[in-house]
């Protein structure tokens, strides 16, 4: 009985105990006080998001009862208007929007129950299952990809700003000037290239990039690596009779690069610009000059000063970068044939108009973004003294 009660309300207890713990710590420490307030804010935003998502789904045509009845209809049963009405009452669809939203949010906060998918005829939690994690991992992989490329190249690009194409210092000898000019020009050309790529990232959005890649494959006359596995490996378990299937891993890797590259593409381009702008901003500050005047130079100057100081704002944007990547995911998923939650989202929205499933997916994405924002804010407040000062006061 008690166990059953706990099992039905487990999520609420977790949320409450986290909140309680933070509140208790917050009485003594200013930092935890901030974390506690930030936690409440995140929950508030989540509530708002769920409200927006839920009411948005209301504008979609049809409701679950109609679909269910239509489904039964195909099974050969004869249905009357009264049956539909009865089904509606059974599903609670005759209640007002706030009431249904209230029930949905209560179920969610009590035990993480995301509702019922009418098109799939199963609970949303089951219907989503692994697929959400697949998309999540995709977005994270795309995110990591974009950061891995954008951060070093963005820093390099920033490094070349304010540098001339030609060395003009009249104090240098001719050879020195020539050498220096060649070096500078090389840097500037690479910078120009990076900037064009970063603009292309906007002009050639992910789905068009995917199309272009497909076109290239067509020209090359090779089959396009769609999906995550080739047909021969799709149903082979990871651990077969001969132990771990290394071949399957190869196959997986040869397929996975494409979606990750495509998904990360626009984010990389955008990130290149952001990193560049951030580092340039920092490198124009007086403290960099002051450090240079103390003899700090080269890598230790760049990494130790401007780059180090632009990490925080960069880190801070992770949540929205994730959101941006997921934003593109549905279209990309269609173009390169993935079957993850993004594809499911399109299906739910565009084809089956499965409101609760679509709402659940959107809500989960928002949940990820909000938690990421929460984590970055809290971590930064602990790590970066500037942020700490601005959120905690001078304490």
């Amino acid at each position: 009985m008690f166990i059953q009660f706990l099992a039905d309300t487990w999520l609420l207890w977790i949320l409450l105990s986290i909140g309680g713990l933070l509140w208790w710590s917050g009485r003594a420490s200013q930092y935890f006080n901030y974390v506690f307030r930030r936690y409440l804010l995140a929950l508030m935003t989540l509530l708002l998001v769920s409200g927006i998502v839920f009411s948005l789904m209301e504008v979609m045509p049809g409701d679950c009862a109609e679909k269910y009845i239509a489904y039964k209809n195909t099974q050969g049963e004869i249905i009357t208007q009264a049956d539909i009405q009865a089904e509606r009452v059974r599903m609670g669809l005759d209640k007002s929007l706030p009431e249904r939203w209230g029930r949905w949010i209560t179920n969610l906060t009590l035990r993480g129950d995301l509702g019922f998918s009418c098109a799939k005829r199963q609970t949303v939690n089951l219907a989503l299952g692994n697929r959400f994690w697949v998309s999540f991992m995709f977005c994270i992989a795309g995110l990591i990809f974009s950061y891995l490329i954008a951060v070093p190249f963005g820093i390099f690009s920033a490094f070349t700003i304010n540098k001339p194409w030609v060395e003009k210092n009249p104090q240098y000898s001719k050879m020195e000037k020539l050498f220096s000019t060649v070096l500078l020009s090389l840097q500037k050309i690479l910078d120009l290239l990076l900037r064009i790529i970063s603009y292309l990232g906007l002009a050639l959005p992910n789905f068009l990039l995917a199309l272009t890649i497909i076109l290239l494959y067509v020209f090359a006359g090779e089959p396009m690596p769609t999906g995550l596995f080739s047909d021969q490996w799709r149903n082979v378990p990871w651990f077969g009779n001969n132990g771990f299937e290394v071949e399957k891993l190869y196959d997986f890797l040869s397929h996975i690069w494409l979606p990750i590259f495509v998904i990360g593409w626009s984010a990389t381009a955008l990130q290149l610009q952001t990193v560049r702008a951030l580092v340039v901003d920092e490198s124009n500050k007086l403290y960099v000059d002051a450090a240079r005047a103390r003899g700090v130079e080269g890598v230790s100057l760049w990494v130790g000063y401007p780059v180090r100081h632009s990490i925080s704002p960069l880190f801070n944007s992770i949540g929205f970068d994730f959101q941006r990547i997921f934003n593109d995911l549905p279209i990309v998923a269609i173009v390169i044939g993935l079957t993850d939650s993004a594809a499911l989202l399109i299906e739910a929205l565009a084809m089956t108009s499965d409101q609760e499933l679509a709402a659940a997916i959107l809500f989960l994405v928002a949940l990820v973004v909000i938690s990421m924002n929460f984590i970055t804010d809290v971590v930064l407040a602990a790590v970066d003294p500037r942020v700490r000062k601005s959120v905690l006061g001078n304490g």
Partner: protein
């Protein structure tokens, strides 16, 4: 060398003393700074040309892009290249050739008579496979010369009819065409519609959606950001938390949901088109509204606003004379920078088949077709709109970037 330098110095000094520099308003200053950025100026020209061609698309396109203008004899046809010379000699007037469709070699009669062998032969000849459907014979001896300002289908050059006022300028001249038959610079699609003409028409459709969307977006952002920033306090808190919540939800799925919701209404293409623009605009307010709010907050604390207050200016006067001008240039720049994003939103929607649909010409509709494996394999020229799209967005980005740098009012402060 130093003489040249010295002259340079003096020249620049003279330039500085020029009265026009001092009496130049903010817009003139922005223009001056913008002109110094070469990449921006080049991009502006490219963009201007594209937009101009898009706006007067009927004039620039040789063929009616609708089904009326479809060339039944040249379906799935490859781009027709313009030549200046061939083995038959040189011509100052560029020309292309006459293309005739290859007749299928099957004999209907034998098929009718039921010969299985004939059917076998017919299938194995490959006449049914799609790649063989666009085989054309080129008759190099029959040139089609390019003519300028040719007469063609009638179109409305500029439609200024508002209510009672009937000001519809109609014309039937086109920039170029051929003397006989038709010219397909970028080939045709499966209906025989000219890709080049369709693309030109699509530019303006897409742009006009973007403009409508941006106007709506501006309006919502100004409303939310302005109220939030000017009044502050509790209103600010509420508005900003809603904005934050909207910002967190991925945008394209929301557009999708709205587009699906639209589908249940019976809308004409025009209504649908405006509805989509309004949705895109209305839901995209979060970022700009937040920026406007911060802008108002910082601008409100500037000394000159306090100065105006101490001069006895009323609140409305301050808003009207000081605050609104202070971010008008900013808004213009931001709008331009946002063009690509809004265009992308439209294209994404149409790409998924939920925005505009055939037979409307929009870049998204044209791009959506490129998903078709048939087109990827047999009609690569249908990727032409993609090229135009990339060019246009690139131009927008470059112009926006240059303008953003130029519009910073304090860049010459110290």
């Amino acid at each position: 060398m130093s003489v040249i330098l010295a002259r340079f110095g003096r020249k620049s000094k003279q330039k500085k003393n020029d009265e026009s520099y001092y009496t130049a308003g903010q817009l003139a200053l922005i223009k001056g700074r913008f002109k110094k950025k070469k990449s921006g100026v080049i991009a502006a020209w490219v963009l201007g040309t594209l937009v101009f061609m898009g706006f007067f698309a009927p004039f620039f396109s040789p063929i009616d892009p609708t089904i009326r203008g479809a060339d039944a004899d040249y379906r799935r046809g490859a781009p027709q290249v313009l030549h200046f010379w061939d083995e038959n000699g040189f011509s100052a007037r560029p020309f292309s050739y006459t293309y005739t469709k290859e007749k299928s070699k099957i004999d209907i009669k034998t098929l009718m008579s039921g010969g299985l062998d004939a059917l076998d032969a017919f299938i194995s000849s490959g006449a049914l496979s799609s790649s063989s459907q666009n085989k054309f014979n080129v008759d190099k001896n029959e040139r089609r010369d390019i003519q300028f300002f040719v007469q063609g289908w009638e179109y409305s050059l500029l439609d200024l009819s508002v209510g009672e006022l009937d000001l519809d300028i109609r014309w039937d001249r086109h920039l170029f065409g051929v003397d006989q038959g038709q010219i397909h610079l970028m080939g045709t699609d499966e209906d025989g519609k000219d890709i080049f003409s369709r693309t030109l028409h699509a530019i303006w459709v897409t742009l006009s959606i973007a403009i409508v969307a941006l106007v709506v977006k501006l309006f919502t952002s100004l409303l939310v950001g302005g109220i939030s920033g000017y009044f502050g306090g509790r209103i600010d808190t509420v508005l900003m938390s809603i904005t934050e919540a909207v910002r967190v939800i991925p945008a394209i799925p929301i557009y999708l949901a709205c587009a699906v919701a639209l589908a249940q209404f019976d809308l004409t293409p025009i209504q649908r088109y405006f509805a989509i623009a309004v949705i895109i605009g209305a839901l995209d307010f979060a970022t700009l509204a937040r920026r406007l709010r911060t802008h108002i907050l910082t601008e409100r604390n500037q000394d000159y606003i306090l100065a105006a207050q101490l001069c006895g200016s009323s609140t409305w006067r301050i808003i009207w004379r000081h605050l609104i001008p202070s971010f008008s240039s900013y808004i213009i720049v931001d709008t331009l920078i946002n063009f690509p994003y809004v265009i992308l939103a439209e294209t994404s929607l149409s790409f998924l088949g939920l925005g505009l649909t055939e037979p409307v010409n929009s870049l998204g509709v044209l791009l959506q077709k490129a998903q078709d494996p048939d087109i990827q394999q047999n009609m690569v020229w249908q990727f032409f709109p993609l090229l135009v799209f990339v060019f246009m967005i690139m131009a927008f980005v470059f112009v926006g970037d240059a303008l953003r740098d130029a519009a910073d009012p304090y860049s010459e402060k110290k």
